[in-house]
Amino acid sequence: MEGKQHPNYFLIWVWLMVLVVVSVVASLILPKSLASFLIFAVAGIKALLVILNYMHLKYEKPLIYAFVIVPLLFALILTLLLFPDFVFHG
């Protein structure tokens, strides 16, 4: 491990817990569309927290970022191009 930097693992966990509560509360009290938006935003943040801190992506070289971003991009392209056939069809 370069430099022995460490995130505070426990603090991250606390944040994760808080965010779970946020999304649960949102799903209970907010109107549907707003809630969905918030919930997925929160899920994204949770994923980022885990990947950056627990998976130490923060400390990795750009190549490893590519290992994450490129497949996500392709999966996204696939999903988007599926929309016309399954979502917008008559």
Partner: protein
Amino acid sequence: MSNILGDVTQGTHPEKKGFWRTYVFSTDHKVIAKQYLALSLFWAVLGGFTAYLIRWQLAHPETAAPGAGWIPEPFMYEGVVPPEFYNVLITMHGTIMVFFVAMPLLLAVFGNYLIPLMIGARDMAFPRLNMLSVWVFALASLVLLISLFVPGGAASAGWTGYPPLSARAIYTGVNWGMNLWIVAIALEFAAFLMGGINFLTTTLNMRAPGMTLFRLPLIVWMQITAGVVFMLSVGPLIAGAVMLLLDRVIGTTFYVPEGGGQPLLWQHLFWFFGHPEVYVILLPALGIILEILPVFSRKPIFGYRPIIYSTIVAGILSFIVWAHHQYVSGIDPRLAMPFSITTILISVPFALIVFAMIATLWKGSISFPTPMLFALGTLGVFLIGGLTGIFVGSAPVDIYFHDTYFVVAHFHYTLFSAVFFGGFAGLYFWFPKMFGRMMNETLGKIHFVLTFILFNTTFFPMFFLGVGGMMRRIANPMQYEFLQPLQPINVFITGSANLLLISQGIFAINFFWSLFRGRIAGPNPWQANTLEWSTSSPPPHENFHKIPTVYRGPYEYSSPETAEDWLPQNQLGLEEVKK
């Protein structure tokens, strides 16, 4: 098992091992490549046999195929192919040829054998994972073989396995055969995922000193691009295959419209993988000819870097063309046009590679031993395949050509050129390295001439069939009045195909004869530059006595730096000596 991810640095092996550890459970990439070679040649024979039965049935429907009388009843009736077995035959033919011949031969054999040698490494980054890969592939082979013999028959929904036909046993009568087919393919994917991870990590991390990325031989670039493309495209299909298997086994309704499922979804997932897959097969073959052309024209590759960039561009583009297989399948018509545009644009990077190959010949000093002949054959045949891809790539034209023999001709021109012309080129070229002996030149030349001519007489007429409207995957063209006038072509094709099959016997003879009787090759029979030629033939365990240091790119032929017309990558040149 637990040590799969151990580095090679921890996995030094003692020199002496028993028979089992040396030839069967070996972690040596060279042995693994040969194991893959044996498996893929086994499957090539079986794939060729299915082609024979297919062709016989098409030319002489409902008559007994000579030499097939021994196949027992539920499959065939005294040599006659019933329609349900015809569907099994094409399914197995496609599956075998693409997944069990093309992939192992082009990726696993050449990738495994060449990558460590060419980058100057002692082995793969994960030798045990590599061994696991070949054994998972062997397991996949076994499962596919078993699937042929289970009650209900083998998979018969085409190699593309479109649901709902493939999703419910009632539509085909096939039950476990189809399930095992899915399992076999999933295992095959697992094997090649392991291979891909290994190729990429090895190339990233294990290069000899001085071997920068832009000094890698092009075939290594092609192999890792193919590996990356494979790894990124196969995921959705793995998910899709899980869904298909669940549909069949526990009754989910992903693809079954009665339960709200979407048959079209499978097509998207399949082709999202399927199209990149054809480049996974093509790229290593192009890599092979890119290695061979400079050696026998004694000239550097023209445009080394542009070729690399084109390869990467083609790899990326290949992810956004997949729906060209679905123009008429009921996708949103507005979607078809963008896909048609990207499809046709992909000809640009491939055109660059083709032009670069041609420019490499310019002002060369060209000789024509067998590997060169097959390399040129690959180029010539692939050109026809690629150009006819433009026809089917144009959406309106594909309305007519889709699912006709025009497509069958197109993909045999591309696949056969990659797999067999490219594969043979590679085998003739690296056989001396792999087995220490030369293959016979005369037999090789005869083999080439026969294969080249007979291939064209077999598959070129299929374009006419397609233009004439003959559908693919029909067991008996004589059932259609409008196809009956085309039947003489079918008879002609079958005749050629049979001769083509027989002429492969020359290769088999040459292969086995040379294995034991061929002329001793010496380390560098072709006077080539890349690192694999700097060690003995066959290379020792762990490849090099001393890891070579690399001073230059792989294609310095006829360089003004030396009087010779070749300058190996690891040889000190004038500049280095001065220093």
